[in-house]
């Protein structure tokens, strides 16, 4: 089982992303859970959301405390929120930032895999908005590799309608452009 913790700010779409990812993983024949950090959320405030993906039925319903992967949607949270808390030492940290993985590794002193991509820059170019939640699904799938990027298409189409293709293009670019430092 892979457990992912997402860090974002209220309104950036972390919850939408965990939902789209879980729905798509299930449609691809996997078992998955997607859930928000339970409770009230405010626009702009730090939020977390969670994904579990497995090949067999998932029974656990408690929170995720030692994730395999942490995805940071908003790099301004670094230093504000302890994003690597509980992240397994051999886990994977994915950050939406123009910085290199080496820089992030130094900043956070995290020795596991570090991967970076300028998700916000891609989103701005591909969709005209600085909202990188769907873009970063591409980054995540490149790093965890549990399913093909194409598996996201149906859920993205249903959610975004006429702007779905732009989301898919942004996702594909993040998938292709992410830099991974093992």
């Amino acid at each position: 089982m892979i457990e992912v913790r997402w860090h974002g700010r209220g309104g950036q779409g972390a919850v939408t992303s965990v939902e789209l990812l879980a729905v798509s993983a299930i449609a691809a024949g996997k078992y998955a859970q997607g859930f928000p950090s339970f409770g009230p959320e405010r626009r702009g405030a730090p939020v977390a959301a969670f994904t579990r993906i497995d090949d067999k039925k998932i029974n656990v319903r408690s929170g995720i405390y030692e994730p395999d992967v942490v995805l940071v949607l908003d790099s301004s949270l670094i230093g504000l929120v302890p994003v690597t808390d509980g992240l397994k030492p051999d886990g994977k940290l994915i950050v939406n930032t123009p910085k290199t993985p080496e820089e992030i590794r130094r900043e956070l002193n995290f020795q596991g895999t570090v991967a970076t991509v300028d998700g916000t820059g891609i989103a701005r170019k591909e969709m005209g908005v600085p909202i990188a939640n769907t873009t970063m699904i591409g980054a995540l799938l490149k790093v965890i590799g549990v399913m093909e990027l194409d598996a996201m298409k149906d859920a993205i189409d249903r959610r975004f309608g006429r702007i779905a293709q732009k989301n898919l293009n942004a996702m594909k670019r993040a998938y292709d452009e992410i830099k991974i430092l093992n």
Binding site: E19, Y31, G34, F35, F38, G39, N59
Partner: protein
């Protein structure tokens, strides 16, 4: 068979209710039930279901409206949580006394104060004696299946009682997970049209919710008690029918590795599957641990519970609510009563867990078993403890 899909559980519940050919819904939104209210109103507004969606100004009005509609012969649904359920409280015994087959989804949430929007069972417990059938579910599939089956139970001519389907708030309502959604055709085959035994109609007047003084009140209460008790048989029948049609049989009391268990735990609601993982860990260490999951809270399944407890020496009852100054959690005192007259009964321990959304991990369930097994002098038996409390 329905297709296996992923969906948020609250939305799935609204979709399932939407398959039930409901005539009327009155749902006042409250966290964490809100997505049921929103999605059901979408289904009506978008023309997917032919249903009167009554926008009300409170939960008191929501329950009043479904009582009126059900009395008029409409298949009626509502859903709520926490404070909303507390506001409905005075109407719940009226709905059951009038023998109205209303179905209500409850996204279980702690009651104030202090204000807390997260999951426990302190909203449903004060409704224990309202004369409603109360079902509990532990995952998306059960929430979908039993939200549909609840109509068939409620409307059965030998039941004619309101049913609550208890779905843990957030832990279930806000979870996206896989399940199979029955098709409209399958639900149509399973759930016949609602034929009320009497309806409010000007051309055929009847009295519902009449006045009764001491000369009849006791008899009416006795009749209601008999009706609630008798519903147990129909509930299992409907579960059996569901099992035959959909391949997912349900029982009033579910078990996990309970057959030869020396030490057992009892849960209600969404923590059952996490507790199952603790059972697996303990079994791997050679502890004969087992799990009992109460699906039916009212009517209480006395015989079925006794049958599954078997020869267990210790039983850990988990509660998601408090009875302040009482004998322990409400489920605990119920289980003690149920087993009191048994010649052989286990020592019963009580942990009050997961209040106001506090998470309970697998290792904590294991910890509860370890504590109880370490109590070789049985000092903690028959007492209750707030699990993990900071003092």
């Amino acid at each position: 068979m329905g297709k296996r899909i992923g969906m948020e559980v609250a939305v799935a519940v609204a979709e399932a209710v939407g398959l039930c050919n409901i005539d009327m819904a009155a749902v006042y939104p409250i966290t964490p039930q809100s997505h049921i209210a929103e999605h059901l109103s979408d289904l009506v507004a978008d023309g997917h279901i032919d249903c009167e969606f009554v926008t009300v100004e409170s939960e008191h009005s929501a329950m009043s409206a479904v009582i009126g509609a059900s009395g008029a012969g409409a298949r009626s649904y509502t859903a709520t949580s926490s404070q909303g359920l507390m506001l409905m409280h005075e109407l719940l015994p009226i709905a059951s006394a009038m023998r109205l087959p209303i179905v209500m989804g409850i996204a279980n949430r702690a009651v104030s104060g202090p204000l807390n929007i997260l999951n426990d069972h302190s909203d449903i417990m004060p409704q224990r004696d309202a004369g409603w059938i109360a079902l509990f579910v532990e995952n998306a599939q059960e929430a979908v299946d039993l939200s549909i089956a609840a109509f068939k139970i409620a409307e059965h001519k030998d039941v004619m009682l309101p049913v609550s389907v208890n779905i843990d708030g957030f832990q279930l309502t806000h979870m996206v997970e896989p399940f199979e959604m029955p098709t409209q055709e399958e639900v149509n085959e399973f759930l016949p049209p609602f034929v009320p035994h009497a309806t409010l109609h000007p051309s055929k007047p009847v009295t519902m919710g009449a006045f009764a003084m001491s000369d009849y009140f006791t008899e009416i209460m006795k009749a209601k008690d008999e009706a609630v008790k008798a519903s147990k048989k129909v509930i299992q029948q409907v579960f059996d029918e569901w099992g035959e049609k959909f391949g997912r049989p349900y029982k009033l009391v579910e078990t996990y590795k309970a057959d030869d268990a020396d030490v057992m735990m009892l849960t209600m609601g969404s923590m059952g599957e996490t507790a199952q993982m603790a059972i697996d860990e303990l079994r791997a260490k050679g502890v004969k641990a087992g799990l009992v999951k109460l699906r039916l809270w009212r009517p209480f399944p006395f015989e079925e519970l006794k049958a599954v407890i078997g020869n267990a020496k210790k039983l850990i009852v988990t509660d998601r609510a408090c009875s302040f100054g009482g004998p322990g959690g409400p489920v605990f005192s119920e289980i003690k009563s149920a087993l009191y007259a048994e010649a052989r009964r286990p020592l019963i321990y009580n942990y009050i867990i997961g209040l106001g959304g506090r998470d309970v991990q697998v290792k904590e369930f294991v910890g509860m078993f370890e504590n109880v097994l370490a109590d070789t002098a049985n000092k903690a038996a028959d007492t209750y403890e707030f699990w993990g409390v900071r003092e």
